[in-house]
């Protein structure tokens, strides 16, 4: 998948919010890409745009989302009608989403099994393949075993509210995998669960990736998860990509002041205890009140006069690493 210069705006009564403002990145087959940023940085909206699920009044203004389908054909997802047959055939079958809150993602009045079986039969029918209920059920039980749900036969008939947080998240992953997607989007898949359960889910995702070679986009603000799970990282701030590169370089040779500040501000199990943490001064600007020039300049310790007026372009700074900052390249965007 290749995202180029994606722009998503929300036209509200008070004005236009540019939630995603010229985002570009690539995802290779089997690659795990992490997208990091604070709340409101546009990471979730970007992913909803990929799936054509941006809620009104939001709309994709410009940009391309090129996706190579299973049969090799390349389509621009940004141009497809959201409710069209083609998008419906891709959504779930080729690109699947693991949403943030597994409690809200399942219908409480159907069993989890029934919801997964429905998805399998529906996408089977779209591909001109009739899948019987019994067959789909068998696949579902198999998936439940794959994701490590004990007593899979019985749990298929459970309602989502009967499952614990960890089991529900596993059932959600089973649903996302039910059609063997080529790209899995995990939107904060572990923020609502405990660390020990999180470790189980992360291990599971790691296994599944090596088993099916599924590409995964990991959206999170937990830098620990990013470090342990991904190979490539995209750092976003106010709808723009600040920096992207291989995970090792992002953590050990961050080029953008925002990335550096973000990394410094996390309390860790290893740092000095009970000392003041270095913080990013100021707070996130209001979405209607975006700063001119580089969006990070009011909070940036290394800002210059130019940062307040011109918008830096994402330029290569090292092998496969790029940053949008005048410290590294004088190139500006019009």
């Amino acid at each position: 998948m290749q995202v180029r210069d994606l722009r998503v705006t929300f036209g509200l009564d008070e004005g236009i919010v540019r939630a995603v403002d010229g985002t570009s990145f690539d995802v290779l087959p089997g690659q795990v890409v992490g997208i990091v940023g604070e709340s409101g940085c546009g990471k979730s909206v970007t992913m909803r745009a990929v799936l054509q699920l941006v809620d009104r009044p939001g709309r994709i203004d410009s940009g391309t989302i090129l996706f190579r389908r299973r049969d090799g054909a390349v389509v621009d997802l940004a141009r497809l009608p959201a409710r069209g047959a083609q998008m419906r055939a891709i959504r779930g079958a080729e690109i699947a989403l693991i949403p943030q809150e597994p409690m809200a993602a399942f219908s409480p009045v159907h069993t989890v099994g029934a919801q997964i079986i429905e998805a399998i039969r529906l996408h089977g029918a779209q591909q001109g393949r009739r899948v019987s209920g019994a067959e789909a059920r068998e696949t579902t039980v198999g998936l439940f075993r794959d994701v490590g749900i004990a007593m899979a036969e019985e749990r298929v008939d459970a309602y989502s509210w009967q499952l614990s947080g960890g089991l529900r998240q596993r059932a959600m992953i089973a649903m996302a995998l039910s059609c063997r997607p080529r790209l899995l989007i995990a939107d904060e898949p572990t923020t609502a669960i405990d660390v020990t359960t999180q470790a189980q889910v992360l291990e599971l995702l790691r296994e599944l990736r090596s088993k099916y070679n599924t590409a995964i986009i990991f959206i999170t603000h937990d830098l620990g998860v990013i470090a342990q799970m991904t190979s490539h990282v995209v750092v976003m701030y106010l709808g723009r990509v600040m920096e992207q590169g291989p995970v090792d370089q992002i953590f050990h040779a961050p080029a953008h002041p925002y990335t550096r500040a973000l990394l410094r501000s996390i309390p860790s199990l290893y740092g000095e205890a009970r000392t003041a943490l270095p913080v990013i001064s100021g707070s996130l600007p209001h979405p209607f009140n975006r700063p001119a020039g580089c969006p990070f300049h009011p909070r940036c310790p290394e800002a210059t006069a130019r940062c307040a007026t011109a918008l830096p372009k994402l330029m290569p700074v090292a092998d496969r690493q790029a940053a949008a900052c005048f410290l590294h390249s004088a190139a500006a965007e019009a």
Binding site: Q198, D222, A227, F251, P267, A273
Partner: protein, 335 residues
Amino acid sequence: MTAAPLLDVRNLQKFFPISKGFMQRVVGQVRAVDGVDFTVNEGETLGLVGESGCGKTTASRCILRAIDPTGGQVLYRTRAGAVVDLAPLSQRALAPFRAEIQMIFQDPFGSLNPRMTLLENVGEPLLVGGMTNRRERTERVAELLQLVGLRAEFMHRFPHAFSGGQRQRIGIARALSTNPRLVVADEPVSALDVSVQAQVLNLLLELQDRLKLTFLFVAHDLSVVRHISDRVAVMYVGQLVELAPTAALFSRPRHPYTAALMRAVPVPDPRVPPGDGVLRGEVPSPANPPSGCYFHPRCRFAQAICTSEAPPLREIAPGHMSRCHFAEGLELAGA
């Protein structure tokens, strides 16, 4: 630090009844907090950690008497020096202590009244405490807002105008309005972004220093707890499994559960390989805990004795308590 602890919790218990059927017959009990002992010294921060459902929030609510404990004592040393057991007191008898023990809540969006300005929100405890002079109250609120790093002019605005981090600061200002000695903070930063989290943690450390506050800090995030606490207590299924000074706990945990919790935290460094030995299985239900040591079904070191005999909480090094039969012999890796 004085010798007598500010708060001494002894054998605290909170059971919730499970009722069934038309007659609501009580058929069992959820032992949410099952005999917890700890002390909090004046001026220190005690971190209380554990997974969801381990009883850490219930324990803190019992201390605040937001819920009534089933048994045990909550001994509190008052400003005058007398030791009072808060557990059996009536709400009326508790009133004089309410100002001294305050709380900071988890959700900065749900814990402020959206129809009240900051002046009313922060000033409410003052009004309840008898400060009826409006000018006096306004002055105090202004002072408090400045203390937590907000501008005094903000006091006529409503909470919706503020971000999560700012609202948490407002919540802190409200908690501090009555000059408390003990502040119970229940997951005060878990709803915030990392960069904002750091700001709020720094503020809490700074305020503690300036106002000589004592914190009981309830959280599930080990990195945060390590950062802010002097001592840490780890809970599992309603019981304390380990309690130790922060450095000792993190450098050499003496309970397999503590070590497993630490291993589960993803390290923010891609060069460190992912931790092995993921903790299998689920947290047992406090309504129907396993026999012997509650942790034995998930423990890597479990032996026959662990399934039959419940280990007591023992002191295995000065100030280091562990509830494990083999605490001395285990070579557990810390962080």
